[in-house]
Amino acid sequence: MPGIIGKKVGMTSIFNADGKSIACTLIEAGPCVVTQVKNTETDGYRAVQLAYDDRKEKNTPKALKGHFSKSNSTPKKKVVEFRDFRAEFDHKVVLGNEIRVEDIFAENDFLDAIGISKGKGFQGVVKRHGFGGVGQSTHGQHNRGRAPGSVGASSFPSRVFKGLRMAGRMGSDRVKVVNLKVMKIYPDKNLILVSGSVPGAKNSYIILEK
């Protein structure tokens, strides 16, 4: 899938031609450098490795410096492999080549955005799994309103099933949001405006796939 790496900038809203206010996310996408091109002969599959966001030379391990020097690129922070970049981009995916947001996407395209969702910490079952809670303060209820209820029953099965939804760490998951519409592209500023929300905090890395 062809794609590009970006950073979430923040959200705003714009009006479309129908007069509807559309919530949009602004993403600073690219320019990315092609740092490796994998093909079926040597690697067994086709893929393109892109790198984004400059990194200080002194903070880069020597092994990575060597890898980036192969493509004559400065060291980068984020490296992502995209499998099966479509053939139409073949002339652009040359080692060391720069890929910009307008190379991949056009206005009114639909794209998928992948990000790491905001961490929520240790959360109970109501927030984490959408349990209903009790919702009653009478009929013998006492401070159990958001408790998960029974988990293992009695003599049968007398154990807790694997995978039972319980309280725990929530968020910081890799989340993909599909079919976001490209509202606008600002090629000179490397910005792309997509409809709807995108997982993650501001300044977190977002992978955009076509």
């Binding site: 900038v9 705003t12 009006f15 007069g19 602004l26 606008k184 500023k189 910005l191 405006l193």
Partner: protein, 119 residues
């Protein structure tokens, strides 16, 4: 940094709409020419009243509330500033008020609901 980038987008997307609209403030009397779609026909409706408040000023979500008395019934209507349906906005009269949200108008009618003109 990120704020600046958002401002670029907001300014660019709102430039045309903002140029059409004169500066106004709460207490002013304005006349809004609002496009209304009926089927595939479009007509313009005028709505004149006192600006009660302006919310989220400076952002793309900016909106203002206009209050008027229509055949004895008070009507408050909220318009988004950047809505493409606003055809024209006329400033009829500038009002002298001492606060940003004129909620006190809701409890008043007739003579008590007058606002002094700012000259």
């Amino acid at each position: 940094m990120s704020e600046q980038l958002i401002n670029i987008v907001e300014e660019e997307s709102s430039k045309i709409a903002r140029e059409k609209i004169p500066a106004f403030a709460p207490g002013d009397t304005i006349n809004v020419h609002y496009k209304i779609k009926e089927g595939n026909k479009e007509r313009i409706q005028q709505y004149q009243g006192v600006v009660m408040q302006i919310k989220n000023k400076g952002t793309n979500g900016e909106s203002f509330t206009v209050r008027k008395i229509a055949s004895g019934v008070a009507v408050e209507r909220i318009f988004p500033v950047l809505s493409p349906f606003i055809d024209k906005l006329e400033l009829i009269r500038r009002g002298k008020v001492r606060r940003a949200r004129l909620y006190f108008l809701r409890g008043r009618k007739g003579k008590a609901a007058r606002i002094k003109e700012k000259l």
